[in-house]
Symmetry: C2
């Protein structure tokens, strides 16, 4: 028995067959072209190719698809999809189901990643957790009682849009000072460019001149070499994450919170400021720390790095039909 | 069949018998004295007196007690109780159970109030909701799937300690800029005193001189009469509440959020700024508002005033044994 998971990103389309024990049995990866019809056709071809190759491996339980955007759970359409321009209001689930002649479960990519980490990753020992995905933006997924928490209309888990700075940087969502504007890879590059423009970051300025691919990784490398402005940028990112996490702790008192996504590679640079903000801003952390030994069981929320890397969303997508 | 609910506040002790249909069958109220042993004894006498009077009304299902503080659910002790000095680490549940010779369910008062509003109040039509209680502090309670969400160690729902101003007013919890520091009755009075001290609020200054009981109600009355500084204070309170609510919407996408507690009487003065902040800071509000008619069912979180008044906690406490 196996399921197929699809991770449809802004750049790559990945399809994998995953056994009920979590083993990846087969996988296919292609790049995403601008024409959505072509992408869906390639996705369906990949699914067909895999099921053909796995004919001897037992029954296909179902297909789960993770997409970057807000999904109308009822219609199976993308309501907003900044990283997949042109996919809004396209009946993507219906179209895949028509071509494959089977039912498909559509899920937000950050929710799928959270489910993946819950199933086989950093959250595998708990039933309640959240995952923060640091990438181009800051995504979030909540798992409560072992299941994705969708909320009233499927829009829960938009954790990157929690405010951390009232008068902060404008966000694509229409608000300002969202956590995403400080803790995403995009935000780290932007803050570096701001520091360069202000003439306050000679190390970053040199790196930007010599490095065509100047990005959050470059800022991270400099921070780890001790460059002050680069370190400051990661401190700000960690602070923003910590404020967001502290609010979640005060709200849900989850046992585990997982940080993943590409920009979580900067952990060494942002984690100290993040933990400082979590401790300072969270009532629970301070209350429980005040009288050690008083409360039985796990004392505090544990903040962990994700363990599945870029496979979290793919594996979580495959988990959707296996767990439903 | 009925249950007994107890609402142990910093000032009043209230005990009521509530039928399984929500009817209040009997009630007793006394004031809270500093000696915790005396309070517990009075509470137990009241329970005994009520059960005696209701002998003909069927079986007593159980007793629920709402207390202002953080409860260690396992031991039944108060972990922190700023409004009940001296009650920390006192085995309150054990003591009540010993005197009454029956089991008792202990619950945080804000959680009990949320359960009350879910059962018979503003949240009665939904299974998922939260309630914000505006009083001396800002309390919170989360109801998910019809039940109080306690989190890993019973500390969920500390919504008043969600940060809204990074460098804001210091909070008793050890952080600064918590929502409680702007939206509680205490905060409204403090902001009025700050405005008076700054010489910027002649109307408030006059009211403070002539009114011995200068409090949030006085500020509210002035705000409703059009006094600029008083209006500004309620705008700030509404803004803080709105930021907090928007974060909760982005996180949980609940269908209903309820505002109650004594200071919610200021609704007319703070609600406009609150709704403005909710709309501006919440991704969901803007996304769903952008394309009307696209998503079926209830579009947005509805923010409602509580309907049970000061009985919410009492009724919710009685609901604890009825629903467990």
């Amino acid at each position: 028995m196996y399921a197929i998971g699809v991770d449809l990103g802004g750049t790559n389309l990945r399809v994998a067959a995953v056994g009920s024990d979590g083993t990846v049995l087969d996988r296919v990866q292609t790049s995403v072209v601008p024409q959505r019809e072509v992408v869906v056709r390639e996705m369906c071809s990949a699914v067909r190719a895999i099921t053909l190759r796995l004919k001897a491996s037992g029954a296909l339980t179902g297909i789960g698809v993770g997409v970057p955007g807000i999904i109308d759970l009822q219609s199976g359409m993308l309501y907003a999809s900044p990283n997949l321009p042109g996919w809004e209001h396209y009946p993507v689930r219906q179209e895949i189901e028509r071509q494959l002649n089977t039912t498909v479960i559509l899920e937000n990519d950050a929710n799928a990643a959270a489910l993946g980490e819950k199933w086989l990753g950093a959250g595998r020992h708990v039933d309640d957790m959240c995952m923060i995905t640091l990438g181009t933006g800051v995504g979030g997924g909540l798992i409560l009682g072992g299941k994705i928490w969708h909320g009233a209309i499927g829009m829960a888990g938009e954790l990157g849009h929690i405010m951390v700075e009232p008068e902060g940087h404008p966000c694509g969502c229409g608000s300002r000072g969202c956590a995403e504007q400080y803790a995403s890879a995009t935000a780290i590059r932007r803050m570096a460019q701001e520091a360069i423009a202000a003439g306050q970051a000679p190390g970053l300025a040199r790196a930007a001149q010599t490095n065509k691919d100047f990005d959050s990784q470059t800022v991270y490398d400099l921070a780890m070499q001790g460059d002050g402005p680069a370190r400051q940028i990661f401190r700000k990112a960690g602070w923003a994450l910590g404020v967001m996490l502290a609010g979640l702790i005060n709200t849900l008192n989850l046992p585990v919170m997982v940080i993943g996504g590409g920009a979580s590679a900067g952990w060494e640079a942002f984690a100290p400021a993040m933990m400082e903000a979590v401790t300072f801003r969270s009532y629970v952390y301070k209350t429980t720390a005040a009288a050690p030994g008083e409360i039985a069981g796990p004392r505090n929320t544990t903040i962990l790095r994700a363990t599945l890397g870029s496979d979290a969303g793919l594996i979580g997508a495959a988990r959707l039909p296996l767990s439903s």
